[in-house]
């Protein structure tokens, strides 16, 4: 790890002010990705702004008809929250599948979403649930937020403050995990809200998380596993690596989507 200046921010406002003053500084959330990346010298920010003491970035609440989760809320808190389990059980389920217990005790929803790892879980939830990412400056719909591999609509110094999830009628997440890293080889989040069905796929796309429109069309007609008969994903544009080639990933999208729909309907 290269040397950096360490700064602690007790509030979101302080964090944003610091980001405006410091050159080449990054926000440090749970650090479960940023610190390993810095150890490997793949990132070498001149400064870190530690958000772990910023209480105003933590918490889970209902606001109107939306479940709103603070950016510094840790995975363990989402996974075990009675409110999340009642309002969007699929989201609690997803949080409990991230990494391992010690990683879930540090990692945060805001960190995961800002990092936009192409195999991370939360981006799929945001996209399928039609979440809004609320920053210190503006509200960004999930459809416009994830722009590519590790790339988002966030500008320099812009901080995710919270994420707002409209409550779905039905939702579920299924992932086929890499047994070592526990990241998704393929993860599929399905959500039904009114007539609208959204299907988001993580782990598979060469360009990051994406929506599977042919699955969405089939499920909009009938939200049932049978509606997906004969529906498949194309291998073009999917990742190929030692864990799974593109054709296998395409197959897994179908399998995970069917499992997720069955799970969503079972609730």
């Amino acid at each position: 790890m290269y040397a950096f200046n360490y700064n602690r921010a007790e509030t979101a406002r302080k964090a944003v002010n610091l980001a405006g003053k410091l050159e080449d500084a990054k926000f440090l959330a749970g650090g479960q990705t940023l610190l390993p990346t810095m150890k490997q010298r793949l990132a070498s920010p001149g400064g870190l702004i530690d958000l772990s003491a910023a209480a105003d970035l933590k918490g889970i609440e209902m606001k109107g008809r939306n479940l709103v989760i603070g950016a510094m809320t840790r995975h363990v808190d989402v996974a075990t929250s009675e409110l999340v389990k009642e309002k969007i059980p699929a989201l609690a389920d997803l949080a409990g599948m991230i990494g391992d217990p010690a990683v879930r005790n540090r990692g945060t929803i805001g960190g995961s979403v800002a990092n936009d790892d192409p195999a991370a879980d939360y981006p799929a939830a945001c996209l399928a649930l039609n979440a809004t990412i609320i920053t210190n400056k503006r509200k960004i719909p999930a459809d416009e937020f994830f722009t590519g591999l590790f790339e988002t609509a966030l500008e320099d110094g812009e901080l995710i403050v919270k994420i707002s999830f409209p409550l779905p009628n039905k939702a579920a997440y299924e992932k086929f995990r890499n047994p070592a890293s526990r990241y998704a080889i393929v993860g599929v989040f399905v959500a039904k809200k009114g007539k609208d069905v959204r299907v988001a796929v993580t782990g598979a796309g060469a360009n990051g998380v994406f929506r599977a429109s042919n699955f969405e069309a089939a499920l909009t007609a009938k939200f049932h596993v049978k509606a997906l008969e004969g529906i498949s994903a194309k291998a073009e544009g999917l990742n190929s690596d030692i864990h799974a080639d593109a054709a296998y990933r395409a197959h897994l999208i179908g399998v995970m989507a069917r499992r997720a729909v069955a799970k969503a309907n079972a609730k």
Partner: protein, 156 residues
């Protein structure tokens, strides 16, 4: 160099450290508490698990400075008055180790599992909860037995 202060195993400690210092480096190199190990250094193996404010975390993937004012417990903090903690005793009794390198992390994780899940743990729960701890001797069978026995002993 910035200063960090925290409570480690009940004692107030502080040190002037490089910003880059990981919590595990602060424990091992500044405080000379070498019971906490570094295995993979990539938050996979769990050898470095310690408790911070009552929750288990991987001390190789967090900065010491992030834990200003925190209450940290390491493997050295479990035994009291020359008597092993029940979970340590259970690992000894059940031979829950081979080379012993992963043992400090295994035990700290095991105590955390009991804190969260109670004293009656079935094998499936233990294996699932231990997924962030790797034993490269692959001595999992006895580790699982040790955790179950230690969990029960902790109730007494």
């Amino acid at each position: 160099m910035p200063k960090v202060s925290m409570t480690v195993n009940g004692k107030a400690v502080s040190g002037n450290i490089d910003s880059r210092t990981l919590l595990v480096q602060f424990l091992r190199e500044t405080l000379r508490l070498t019971g906490t190990h570094v295995g993979c250094d990539t938050s996979q193996c769990g050898c470095c698990v310690v408790h911070v404010n009552g929750t288990a975390i991987k001390s190789c993937t967090t900065l010491a400075l992030s834990h200003e004012g925190a209450n940290v417990t390491t493997i050295e903090g479990l035994a009291h008055d020359g008597k092993l903690h029940p979970m340590q005793e259970a690992f000894r009794e059940n031979h829950g180790l081979q080379c012993g390198f992963c043992t400090p992390g295994m035990i700290m994780t095991a105590v955390d599992i009991v804190n969260r899940k109670g004293n009656k743990l079935d094998e499936q729960t233990i294996r699932h909860e231990l997924e962030g701890n790797i034993c490269r001797c692959t001595g999992y069978h006895n580790i699982v037995k040790a955790v179950a026995a230690g969990a029960e002993a902790m109730a007494k």
